[in-house]
Subunit: 393 residues, 2 copies
Amino acid sequence: MKNTLLVKNVLHDGRKTNILVEGNRFRNMAAPEETVADKVIDAQGKAILPPFFNTHTHAAMSLLRGYADDMPLFKWLSEYIWPFENKMTSHDIYEGSKLAVREMIKSGSVFFNDMYFDLEETVRAVDESGMRAALGVTFVESHSKSQQEDKLQMLRHWNDPTGGRIQLTVAPHAIYTVSDELFRKCAETAHEMNLKLHVHLSETAKEVEDCVREHGMTPVRYLDSLGVLGPNVIAAHVVHVDREEMDILAERGVTISHCPCSNMKLASGVFKAKQLIDAGCKITIGTDGDSSNNNQDMREEMKFAALLAKMSSGDPETLPADEAFRWATAAGAEAFDIDSGVIAQGKLADFILVDLNDERMRPCHHLVSNWVYSADTSAIDKVVCDGKVIYEK
Amino acid sequence: MKNTLLVKNVLHDGRKTNILVEGNRFRNMAAPEETVADKVIDAQGKAILPPFFNTHTHAAMSLLRGYADDMPLFKWLSEYIWPFENKMTSHDIYEGSKLAVREMIKSGSVFFNDMYFDLEETVRAVDESGMRAALGVTFVESHSKSQQEDKLQMLRHWNDPTGGRIQLTVAPHAIYTVSDELFRKCAETAHEMNLKLHVHLSETAKEVEDCVREHGMTPVRYLDSLGVLGPNVIAAHVVHVDREEMDILAERGVTISHCPCSNMKLASGVFKAKQLIDAGCKITIGTDGDSSNNNQDMREEMKFAALLAKMSSGDPETLPADEAFRWATAAGAEAFDIDSGVIAQGKLADFILVDLNDERMRPCHHLVSNWVYSADTSAIDKVVCDGKVIYEK
């Protein structure tokens, strides 16, 4: 017998209804008033919306929030971030992951795609939280052959302690920290084991210049020449790409994780939203780590994405609210083959309840516009992941 | 005998202290533990910070939140905003102002500079709220001579029902809605009565082109030729200005109200933060109305201002957190001659208490960085204006 949860009097698609969850899936989107359930939530005055899927972050870097701001990338990395990270213990990574996870849940995310070290610590934090994650087994050239072999073994023999909420990814860090040989091995492993491959790509102008100097081609062309790009690839940032590279990304079915706050704060460059949309690229949204954002708030990130797209294209019609919302929700779930991201019968029961009486949700001419452009996390009443309430205000 | 308020165990400038407020001013920044006061707040685990001064908005437009998004400016104005506004009653303006005021207070603002119609309704909302405001007596050419004369009479004979929290401003709407004759009369009236003058300026490329066609010069030069520009002028937007116009604005001591969200959402253009700073211009921050933002959240607006400045200049050192914070607080207070915006003995007791245990305020390597880049309004515990608590979580 499965657990049941009844969400009563909730606004869904413009109508008030009762929604029945059975186990971890939506069972009935118009359940009768008298439905009996193990748990009942009265959602009077609240709307049900899909939660966020954060497609690029480094959770444990919450410990570096505000540690180094307002400085050039190389100085930031070499004088502040790397020396700090060198002193971080496994326990720190657990604590940092816990803090980020709390921050994410409170701001309406049920999933994040992570790249960091000491994976087991982040697994533990996710397991305890009740949320979902894709956690990267990170590859960098500076690790020894035996360390890299250990990582491959971990991928082969890993068991998900959450029973389905965590997937591992193969995560070669970036083209400037991973050799072509190691990239090929990562791609092979990902294909062989049917895993996603998570990589930083074309984040800065310097990355592109160095790549052209070293490999005689730009980063997207370079990774494509190695056979890395495919529909299992999640490429973070993708700021500096030309028109032909956009076509390559679209053709290979690569998912882009757009991180507007990080790109703007580090002055990495301007994401070409309109051209990437026109090229047919798959786009999702990520917060990046707290050291360069400085939070994990996907609601804020959606607003940045939408406003930046309008500004950079000079066209206020670019990336309307509904599409920015889709990038931050359904598109993220889809990229990781998670049967969620929309509120519909049979889908995984991941959702948030948003308070329609919050000042910033009123008046309600257009619910999604209010959520994207106006609200903040204080309008979130509850967050449900996999059929379980993981946050209540 | 004045009312006293003791704020105990509060973090101020990196140290824990007790702060005594007497009447509406800070009396002692290091009061003894045993100080007796009419009201005591235990601020253990909280920091005291200056609240926000929002230097450009249209409060009552909260009623148009989400009514029309993601469309070009002229279509937005002519097909949606103006027809909606034509149907608004005085009561609507009161209700809209009330909603905006609640939204502002909850997000840490104690002051806004407004431009709208039916001023008395907004006066009433501000009076009831306990916050401060500068409310514009709006002049547009389409009003009749007798309407304009009534407005001048109102400026001359107005009594502030709040006893000092409200100032009126002379608010000629913009160069495309106000003639040179009316602009001159507005400027004279403002000088004569020692009032601020609030105007939209150089918001869009079209405004500049039309001005050059009609007057043979750009908007800043045009207003300067009319003798309008001076240290009492608050100019909203100021997006499309050349280097010489920046020098004129700096020389005349004009205060710019930078509205990053509105400019980005309407794709009005890119604010030239770095050049304006280099030219020595006075800059503050405004949210603009809820119809083009779509909220009144100055914390979010600070982050947009800082990140946009870095992105547009290509330099992550542009507009560091402390300076963005100063624009949103002290610089705004100064522009309106309000003896507030900093937490110091003798200043008006306007402040917020921020919860240092909020996930997004931790760890606390740099308090102001956390506040500008990471937090949201859910970290606000209390808002105090003029010595009185006007919001408690």
